[in-house]
């Protein structure tokens, strides 16, 4: 099959790149080896771990992916990203100028650029409510309730806690492992369950300003939170959960739908296993684990880092298994004995030139690009920029291809 651009990957970076290409009239295909790490994200997107991320980004060394894009361009592309989320029907809050903070499932406050609308968020370390009632399903496994309530208390919010159950959730508890976010969200897709929850809230919330629930508000449907607000006549906000995250799954689904609606093709469940080149060393096609060969003018590697299997490590070192790209950051040792220190292996990734062309044996391949967490030269956890780098480098590569 023939496309303008084949993107190897199916996660946030691949989807952003694909959507930007598709909405500019390019025929793009994604090779997605299973569901992506978006399913595990809390559905908040970090640009950089600093109160004013753009200012921090301007100071980064040239080896950092953001530095290759340039801070003005990072700002412009951050705007494009917000636009794409909007087109996909994902409503976000936040700005690249100034971070807000979100609460994590274990009650920590984290710097953040964009959040799904309806997630509890703080500006300048302040929440905009003084009292809350937290409703958690009995036996729910995906948030640490006491950490959440104590974090809220510390921020000066009077929080009451109510455990609730619904007949359908009682059945779920027969299975010790499945009292999870997705199960609750599926139950709340049903009108009768939502009404039952609404009446529990009305009965139990007292005079709390805000009702808090784990982010389990609807799996197939997108307006469950708003409907619950109308039914209870309260502001309802969500606490992010452990993975798989309902909001992450919904965000991935929305981006995939948007991409396909624009004419993009997704080869789901395919792993790219080999590639073919012409006499100049340019890539002509890739072949997948399902015996499908995809030809294109341009190829983008967005297979993620270790968890997405974009990078592999063994005792000999780190490699990128598909193209055998050059690797940077594979210093020895790859790990720090102190588990809480930034781990050196997180800085590993494929080596690219200023336009994100992949380098092989020090030479760039003209029609082969890399974007997202497969890139090296930064630490996504310490810098809180995993999603930001995925999005910004994807859009940068897309624009290079469009202008080619």
């Amino acid at each position: 099959m023939r496309y303008d651009t084949v993107i190897i990957g199916g996660g946030l970076s691949a989807l952003m790149c694909g959507i930007e290409l598709a909405r500019n009239g390019k025929r793009a295909a994604l090779v997605a080896a299973g569901q992506s790490t978006m399913n595990f994200s809390s559905a908040s997107f970090g640009l950089y771990n600093a109160p004013e991320p753009l200012k921090a980004i301007a100071q980064l060394p040239q080896s950092h992916p953001y530095a290759k894009v340039g801070v003005e361009q990072v700002e412009a592309l951050a705007g494009v990203a917000t636009e794409i989320f909007n087109i996909a029907g994902i409503s976000t809050v936040g700005s690249a100028e100034r971070n807000h903070k979100v609460i994590t499932p274990v009650g920590q406050m984290r710097e953040c650029w964009l959040s799904i609308d309806g997630v509890v968020s703080a500006q300048d370390d302040k929440l905009d409510f003084n009292s809350a009632a937290l409703f958690v399903p009995e036996g729910f496994l995906d948030i640490y309730t006491s950490f959440i309530t104590s974090a809220l208390q510390q921020m000066g919010v009077m929080t009451s806690l109510c455990h609730f159950s619904l007949p359908e959730l009682v059945v779920r508890r027969n299975n010790p492992t499945e009292m999870r976010s997705v199960s609750v969200a599926r139950a709340l897709d049903k009108e009768e369950n939502l009404r039952a929850l609404a009446s529990i809230i009305v009965r139990e919330a007292g005079d709390a300003e805000v009702v808090l629930l784990p982010a389990t508000l609807g799996f197939a449907q997108n307006d469950v939170r708003e409907r619950l607000e109308r039914m209870t006549d309260r502001r309802v906000l969500m606490i992010p959960t452990l993975p798989p995250s309902v909001e992450g799954v919904k965000a991935e689904r929305a981006l995939r739908r948007a991409f396909e609606k624009m004419g993009g093709a997704i080869f789901a469940g395919h792993t790219a296993t080999s590639y073919q080149t012409d006499e100049n060393g340019e890539i002509v096609s890739v072949t997948t684990s399902k015996d499908v060969t995809l030809m294109a003018e341009n190829f983008v590697l967005a297979t993620g880092s270790f968890i997405g299997r974009g990078l592999e490590a063994d005792r000999q070192g780190v490699c990128e298994p598909l193209f055998g790209s050059d690797i940077i950051g594979a210093t020895s040792p790859l790990t720090d004995i102190d588990i809480y220190s930034p781990q050196p292996f997180m800085g590993c990734g494929v080596d690219v030139d200023e336009q994100f062309h992949i380098l092989k044996q020090g030479k760039s391949v003209d029609n082969l690009y890399a974007c997202g967490s497969i890139l090296g030269g930064y630490n996504p956890v310490k810098e809180g920029c995993g999603a930001g780098v995925a999005i910004i480098t994807a859009l940068s590569v897309a624009q290079t291809i469009i202008n080619r």
Binding site: T37, V171, V182, V249
Partner: protein
């Protein structure tokens, strides 16, 4: 190729994303979900058979967990293999009847008008439900009067005239229920310059036998098919099937579930839409389409095994090549029938609940017809929506 240990479940990182995309877990809270039934349970089952939980038999073997898995764990295979190994359920008359598509088909096609009329009657279906535990609401596929094999044998001389030849694995559905699909395939193959032959001996691919607990019989039939396909392969004949599930079973389940070595022939077994699309995409082959063909809005449904094979795009792109066909791609989701699963009384509700979002999407698509490469999806969709379902090859043939 990556070398995995014998225990593929070791690749599981416990991310649980498979359970998110499991159609059974979505509607039936009693099902433990693919992670628990598959890799987690397998780890325990290695310790002893006492850890076998019959609840895993609610799995309908759609393999959507495997498509969702980021770590290439063959979750569906793990579940189904455990079931083959440990299930204490013994198949009864119902399972025998549903699984023996060849035997039942051979008898039914001889007296098709009687069978069709009888099974169409509600009181009869009530009796069938009482005796067989096959749900009375389930509508049976009609049997044809005379088999496809019989028809093609009559065409032998005409087919031999074509310079290029292929072998067609028609499957039970084409042979006993819908010979017209087989005839449509022959028409398209002929238009591309291929004569169509039968395999030396074709048996039911065995998918229904496997899922109904007749594994030894499935192996026996699989060996016959492997032998016939090997012979065709030696004669340089491509083996092409119209049914996505037959294709998937021949290529993957023979090895993964029955433990039979099909490596020498696997690559020579192709799906009809893929085979034809690749001929046309090469640019060397062309099809002459009718100039006055009517406009048709087609909604394409990706069957589960089609999705697992990863070949959905071939059918979609092939349909897009037909002038005046307007294609709507339905979001890929299970229709709920899963072969013989949905026929069983105890599965009827689950089956229809799984399919509900798809049925709604089909009604909302404002299509003229639905298209899919799977015959059992066709039965389910025709029973549960207002739309007719055609195989992509039937649509293609009608435009030639």
């Amino acid at each position: 190729m990556k070398q995995y240990s014998e225990h593929n479940f070791e690749q599981c990182t416990k991310c649980t994303v498979c359970t998110v995309y499991c159609p059974v877990a979505a509607v039936n809270p009693l099902y433990p979900g693919p992670k628990q039934a598959g890799p987690d349970g397998e780890r325990l089952r290695l310790k002893g058979v006492a850890y076998y939980d019959p609840a895993i038999e609610m799995c309908l073997n759609c393999k959507r967990c495997e498509v969702a898995c980021p770590s290439e764990v063959r979750i569906g295979d793990i579940i189904h293999s455990a079931r083959i190994k440990h299930s204490t359920k013994r198949p009864g008359l119902r399972e025998f009847t549903l699984a023996n598509t060849d035997l039942v088909g051979s008898v039914a096609t001889v007296v098709a008008p009687v069978v069709n009329a009888t099974l169409g009657l509600k009181p009869v279906r009530k009796v069938v439900e009482g005796v067989m535990k096959i749900d009375h609401r389930r509508i049976f596929p009609k049997y044809a009067f005379g088999t496809f094999e019989g028809w093609l044998k009559g065409q032998r001389k005409a087919q031999a005239l074509y310079a290029k030849q292929l072998a067609y694995f028609h499957g039970c559905y084409v042979n006993y229920n819908n010979p017209d699909l087989g005839k449509a395939f022959v028409k398209v193959a002929n238009a591309l310059g291929y004569g169509v032959q039968l395999l030396e001996k074709e048996k039911c691919c065995g998918v229904a036998l496997i899922s109904n607990g007749f594994v030894e019989q499935a192996k026996k039939q699989a060996k016959t098919n492997i032998k016939s396909i090997t012979k065709a392969t030696e004669q340089k004949l491509k083996v092409v099937a119209t049914s996505s599930t037959c294709t998937f079973t021949l290529r993957d389940e023979y090895d993964h579930l029955l433990g039979l070595d099909n490596s020498a022939i696997r690559d020579n077994i192709d799906l009809a839409t893929r085979f034809i699309y690749e001929l046309l995409a090469d640019g060397n082959q062309r099809l002459e389409f009718k100039s006055d063909a009517p406009h048709l809005r087609v909604a394409y449904h990706s069957a589960c095994h089609m999705e697992r094979m990863g070949w959905t795009k071939y059918s979609i792109e092939l349909l897009k090549l037909i002038p005046n066909v307007e294609l709507v791609q339905l979001e890929s989701q299970c229709c709920g029938i899963a072969g013989t699963y949905g026929f069983k009384k105890e599965n009827y509700e689950t089956s229809q609940n799984i399919g509900e979002p798809l049925f709604k999407a089909i009604e909302a698509s404002e299509c003229d017809v639905v298209s899919t490469d799977c015959e059992t999806c066709k039965w389910q969709i025709e029973m549960s929506t207002s739309k007719r379902v055609l195989h992509p090859i039937e649509i293609l043939a009608s435009y030639l």
